[in-house]
Symmetry: C2
Subunit: 435 residues, 2 copies
């Protein structure tokens, strides 16, 4: 057993700085658990002269601009990749595995895109590869799924896995502000990037759902398998109608596996206020797991932030060092058990929320409900009010469970009705008793 394990860090941004300072701060706890000291020996940076949150020099960490100084240092056992980006990070990690170094990363983009390749490179070199921090920051959700549900069949996951969009939707819901105003506030407070596209378009959530789905269902899920709809263009009106009907709008990552076919998507959905996910507010994240035996369980916490993410990174480093001491590194990877098979759209089911305008004349509502009836769709909740336009009513319905294919056909037919000038919005409903 080594007296000192040396870490090589790739990137000293906010997360990297957090890693350096947490390791210094918790030396005693780490040494007690591991029976050895842990030290960040060197770190790859773009500009060694930049002012940082942590003074690497006082911690004895050497900064370098040459990746090989870190990746080829024989004293370094574990590489922590927190530089972000894709191609450069991928190359560095593959190089690290070839040099027989274990890798811990927080890089969800990379794991979502190249998880299979990286796992195989790790296994080939008998190295560990962990990425707890890549999904939901400080929440130990990947461990929870792989270890806690080891003997259970996970049927479904619902996740609020993007803090930016959850912050925006919470603002809209609780303060009745528009999407644009809520986004602006999130940007001012640092909860949204200047270019918020990856968050608000749902891509960030999709990456995390691909990683979660892979681990939960033991099948490779590629990013392109995840159907994604973002929260742009969500109207306050739909949040308010949803609220009146007992629902809260959330950007929900949904992953389901029936033992054969898998279905993963990310979309804004109305979730019943009785469901614990409806209470997950502001920038918080949560993943709700439906296990056959365990039943319902939820993991909740800060989904981002430099310290939560750094702490999750170090929890992986602790696991790697324990494996090193026991001589069992490289043994965590298990080939996926199932060949991926995607569920066709016509076999996807759900409850839905529809808002549309209809002429306020005798017989119109009855014509509309018979139209839905033809597609085997019936209404569970109905809300009708006069619309702003003369002689027109605004109708909001929540349907009973139906197939998505029939729902799309019904909406097509509804759109052709003369009495229905406009279908305003359409959302999935989750967490209702029958969903």
């Amino acid at each position: 057993m080594k007296n000192m394990v040396s870490i090589g860090l790739l990137g000293v941004g906010v997360v990297g700085s957090g890693v350096i300072s947490l390791i210094e701060q918790h030396q005693a706890k780490l040494a007690h658990q591991l029976g050895c000291n842990v030290h960040v020996k060197s770190a790859l940076v773009r500009n060694p002269n930049k002012t940082r949150d942590v003074d690497a020099a006082t911690n004895g960490t050497v900064l370098t601009t040459n990746p090989d100084d870190v990746l080829n240092d024989p004293e370094i056992d574990v590489i922590v990749e927190v530089m972000g980006g894709i191609e450069e990070a991928r190359e560095a990690i593959l190089k690290a595995f070839e040099a027989k170094k274990h890798v811990v990363t927080a890089n969800k983009d990379l794991v979502a895109l190249y998880g299979a390749e990286l796992h195989e490179a790790a296994a080939r070199n008998k190295c560990d590869f962990y990425y707890e921090a890549s999904v939901a920051g400080g929440i130990p959700i990947l461990r929870g799924i792989t270890d806690g549900f080891a003997s259970d069949h996970i049927e479904q996951l619902l996740g609020i896995v993007n803090g930016t969009t959850n912050y925006i939707l919470t603002k809209m819901h609780h303060e009745s502000v528009s999407y644009e105003d809520a986004l602006k506030e999130a940007q001012e407070l640092g909860f949204a990037e200047a270019d918020p596209a990856a968050d608000v378009e749902g891509l960030d959530a999709a990456r995390k759902m691909a990683i979660l789905g892979r681990l939960a269902f033991s099948t490779y899920i590629d990013l392109e398998d995840v159907d994604v709809t973002g929260i742009e263009g969500i109207e306050l009106e739909d949040l308010q109608h949803g609220d009146n009907l007992g629902f809260t709008m959330k950007l929900i990552g949904f992953a389901k596996f029936d033992g054969k076919q898998v279905e993963v998507n990310v979309e804004p959905a109305l979730i019943s206020k009785d469901h614990p996910l409806a209470d997950v507010k502001n920038e918080y994240n949560a993943v709700y797991v439906y296990g056959e035996a365990i039943g319902e369980a939820m993991f909740y916490g800060a989904g981002a932030g430099s310290m939560p993410t750094a702490a999750a990174v170090i929890s992986d480093v602790v696991t790697v060092i324990k494996n090193m001491h026991r001589g069992v590194t490289g043994s965590q990877f298990v080939e996926p058990r199932f060949k991926k098979e995607l569920k066709p759209v016509d076999q996807r089911f759900g409850q839905y929320y529809i808002r549309f305008h209809a002429k306020d004349e005798a017989g119109v509502f009855s014509r509309i409900s018979s139209l839905f009836n033809e597609f085997d769709i019936s209404f569970k909740q109905i809300l009708q009010n006069p619309s702003k336009e003369a002689d027109t009513a605004e109708i909001v319905v929540i349907t009973h469970r139906s197939s998505l294919e029939k729902m799309q056909q019904a909406l097509g037919a509804l759109n052709k009705l003369d009495e229905v000038p406009d279908i305003k919005s359409f959302y999935k409903v989750e967490g209702d008793a029958e969903a």
Copy 2:
């Protein structure tokens, strides 16, 4: 690596039956993860002829009334103890360790009372000892704390860790029924035992908090170190006043460690409705963790039930078998890092809820608030209404943060005031911004 790992089961009640049937049901998943089959070879029962939820014989499990048939069988590697009780279970587990068998248990009473002894026996014999199912059923909270927070300093835990009391308090809160009626309903639905003492007096929660505190703070916490108050005698009135002031009554397990002194207790407390624990309803459990780096995280799920508990037991069996294959059994135990030091009552702080009656005369309220002021206690929220008795007001206050010692002195002084005929109730307040 063995082709078949044999389990010996102690007890085939509801959890034991669940263990047998889940292992049968998930053979393929277990074999895929572990590279071997898992089989319950024999099981200790009191009465082999009793009708059970699972037909052990069809699963090839041999029932026996002689513990040695299970504990001394050289083919058996892992003992699963789900017989409950204390002395008999303790003896059997110690015997199992002497026979070099690994042990998984769901027995919180035993782990809370004899955890230190059992861990030491396991370590001496290089055996594994796991008990995830002993706290909060299917929720992987022990793994979450030990692995997920490995690099963080856990400052505080708040737990709703008893489903029976949470069910009763939820009923009282949402349906305005009395404690007695809610208990009766819980008994009829099977959420409370015929003799509910261990649950409603808080003992069950105290056992779980002792186990959680030990793992979170790396110090031995004995059951007798946990101050316990149950939910008996809680009046609907206090739930209603709490509700009006923005709080929900829960039986809260509280554990705090400042790096030196530890404080663990279980008591009914009012928790702010803004806090995620306030939304944990019915028989559900949740543990809320405050980590220095990770921030706030919550683990939520079914706290009991035969299948969730059985699934947690098998997740531990999976861990043990992985350790066996890697040749690293017996290495998980780490001596507690800190010597136990309990925080004296006069150094415990909190916010408090007090309800009392006072004469409805000029100057009385001002006298009362100066009395509290003398003990450095000020009020954050006040609710005053005429009481049912003539010329008397009912006053409810929520205080700012103060020391418990001063609070007890203030209540003593209040009780002596002629103008205050009655102090009706006194509860801690949790989850408020300043708490």
